[in-house]
């Protein structure tokens, strides 16, 4: 029987020096791109490289980063999750309904809301995973269905209304800064770290890469492919739930129309970060940098005074360029 390690040749093997070098090189390109952007905007706008603006950027990329971490798992197994924006809205209004209940202490309400938000996300993710894995259907179409289900559910639960007036301590928590770094961003960063450990040092992580590379081989090796696939979607759903809580803590409202098209930014962050849409190759650290690139672009282009439509065009261009770069990187790393 093959070992799991052999099934995932592209997973970074940190024990081997040769592979460590390749691992560094893999991230060097995207890191360089980010650096160039930062230098460019620093020259283009006097406001870009200021403490206040850096805080802004960190605040603004947090939600996308959380979604993109979950998305990385799904894309690594060769799937896609189009429902995360809607699931964010659904989890948000469920948590919002819970947190505005009367007759409980603030602590109880916040705990229940966190569980409700996370739980909603996990349930949606489990449904995505179970349905697509059980019937072997493309996750593209199943999660497209969930995109509608979750949006409809969010509107239904919230009666299409914005939910507001959360406990004071919850609203305060969202605005805590530690040396100018938003606490919500630090939590997202912690999530990246956990995801990195899971993907690189656990059997689960090995299997995620393995399934993306060669699902049949993993199955023939006697592993429960369905378990790992459903697990990846559940993680993605949980991240959507977390992102919903971050949205609530930042804006102090829940909105059933929150998160429209957020899945596209999350997918873009993952792809710009060098994870292959075909699965099996990529990393969550690349995703972190991908999220930074999208956030820095959105921020910097406004600071430069570019109009909205130009901004949208440039963001689209960057995504396409990233995929072309990834095409060449994939070719060179296999030859």
């Amino acid at each position: 029987m093959q070992t799991a390690t052999n099934l995932a040749p592209d997973a970074p093997d940190l024990k081997s020096n040769r592979l460590t070098l390749r691992y560094v090189l893999q991230h060097a390109g995207i890191g360089l791109a980010l650096l160039i952007l930062v230098i460019f905007f620093s020259i283009a706008s006097e406001h870009f490289l200021t403490a206040g603006n850096i805080t802004n950027i960190l605040t603004q990329i947090t939600i996308n980063l959380i979604l993109a971490v979950g998305m990385t798992f799904v894309i690594l197994i060769g799937g896609i999750d189009l429902s995360v924006g809607s699931v964010l809205a659904f989890a948000g209004v469920v948590a919002g309904k819970v947190i505005t209940l009367s007759g409980f202490s603030d602590g109880t309400l916040i705990t229940m809301a966190v569980l409700a938000g996370l739980g909603t996300g996990v349930i949606c993710g489990l449904m995505n995973g179970l349905i697509s894995a059980w019937w072997g259907l493309p996750s593209f179409i199943i999660t497209l269905g969930m995109l509608n289900i979750a949006r409809g559910a969010a509107l239904h639960v919230a009666d299409a209304r914005t939910i507001y007036s959360f406990p004071f301590s919850f609203e305060e928590f969202g605005s805590i800064m530690i040396f100018g770094v938003p606490i919500l961003f630090l939590l997202a960063l912690a999530l990246v770290a956990v995801a990195w450990v899971v993907l690189n040092f656990t059997v689960f992580g090995r299997m995620v890469y393995g399934i993306g590379n060669n699902e049949e081989a993993v199955r023939l090796a006697g592993h429960n492919v369905m378990f790992y696939k459903v697990g990846a979607f559940a993680i993605c759903g949980a991240c959507a739930g977390l992102a919903a809580l971050a949205y609530m803590a930042r804006l102090n409202i829940s909105s059933p129309i929150a998160g429209i098209a957020f899945e596209l930014d999350a997918i873009a962050a993952v792809i710009i970060g060098g994870t292959s849409l075909a699965g099996g190759r990529g990393s969550v650290l690349g995703t972190l940098m991908g999220a930074f690139i999208i956030g820095v672009l959105a921020n910097g282009l406004i600071l430069m005074g570019l109009n909205d439509f130009m901004r949208q065009m440039i963001t689209g261009l960057v995504i396409i360029v990233a995929v072309i770069v990834d095409y060449y990187r994939a070719r060179f790393s296999t030859t």
């Binding site: 603006n53 603004q60 930042r250 804006l251 059933p256």
Partner: protein
């Protein structure tokens, strides 16, 4: 006359229930076509219309909403279905002010009383199709100007302001932007920047935080709806700026609360929950033989301050 109406209706509908086309004027059928029910404004309107139907009790309400703000194809289908069902009146908030003219013309040819509310149909498109149709609704431009004027009065001449716009291309977004710009021109305000945040809170929060970084001397913000105003208020709190004034539009409950706390200077109430109900009243009057509506029947708008 009845016969020609029947021919027109039959020609334009897939399966006409002939008897239904001549429903009793004492208990007319009214088809209400709204925009996105995902929008709090239309949700309130829907609830208001249902309450109104129950209270009056002398007409049958058939209401449909859309998936999203720009889903005019569903609206066209809804209008065609109503023609088929033989409703007596169609009361519609068009999702597209040009595309809806032709299907509504068909409805009128089928003898249905049509009342256009909320967003006016395009005047040129109406002329082109030879359609004469009154508009019942608020003056979004006037409303935005009222909010802008409230901000201008607080800031004084030369106040530095930015505009947060609604969806590019949406008629009410355009009207509100123009209203804000009217106010800027009239009071000699200094407009630093104007950007869309697609009606959405998180987008407005992000976009405005970045505008504030680029223009730290902003003194006032005109947001084209309350969802975006909420995002702006949150960005101001995050930046620790309590010296910048914000006005919104719509008077949704969450914004009303902010007005009460003094975090939002003003918002505009256009009485959305009553708007559909009022348009239905007007439609039923015409169905029962009242005079046809003409021109622009303006509905009330009100400035909401602390």
């Amino acid at each position: 006359m009845k016969f020609t109406k029947f021919i027109a209706a039959a020609a334009t509908s897939v399966s006409l229930l002939a008897t239904a086309a001549y429903a009793d004027a004492d208990h007319p059928k009214v088809g209400l076509v709204m925009k996105s029910l995902a929008n709090e404004f239309f949700q309130n309107m829907m609830v208001g219309a249902e309450a109104h139907a129950e209270k009056r009790g002398d007409y049958e309400l058939l209401a449909v909403g859309m998936q999203n703000e720009t889903d005019f194809e569903s609206q066209i289908n809804a209008v065609n279905t109503f023609i088929t069902q033989g409703v007596d009146a169609i009361v519609i908030a068009p999702a597209d002010s040009r595309a809806m003219v032709r299907p509504l013309k068909r409805a009128m040819e089928a003898g249905i009383t049509v009342v256009n509310f909320d967003v006016a149909l395009d005047a040129d498109a109406k002329k082109q199709q030879g359609v004469e149709l009154a508009f019942v609704g608020p003056d979004n431009r006037q409303g935005a100007k009222m909010a802008g004027d409230a901000l201008a009065a607080a800031l004084g001449e030369g106040g530095k302001v930015v505009i947060i716009e609604g969806n590019p291309g949406a008629d009410n977004a355009t009207q509100r932007r123009l209203g804000f710009e009217d106010s800027v021109a009239e009071h000699g305000l200094n407009l630093l920047d104007s950007r869309t945040a697609y009606w959405e809170t998180e987008e407005a929060n992000t976009v405005f935080a970045n505008m504030l970084t680029a223009n730290p001397d902003i003194q006032g913000v005109m947001a084209a709806n309350d969802s975006m105003a909420i995002g702006v208020v949150q960005a101001l709190e995050a930046a620790g700026r309590d010296d910048i004034l914000v006005v919104g539009f719509d008077n949704v409950p969450a914004a009303k609360a902010l007005v009460g706390e003094g975090k939002l200077l003003a918002t505009i109430d256009q009485f959305g929950s009553e708007m559909a109900a009022n348009a239905i009243d007007l439609a039923i009057d015409v169905v029962r033989g009242g005079p046809e509506l003409e021109g622009w029947v303006r509905t009330p708008i009100d400035l909401v301050t602390q």
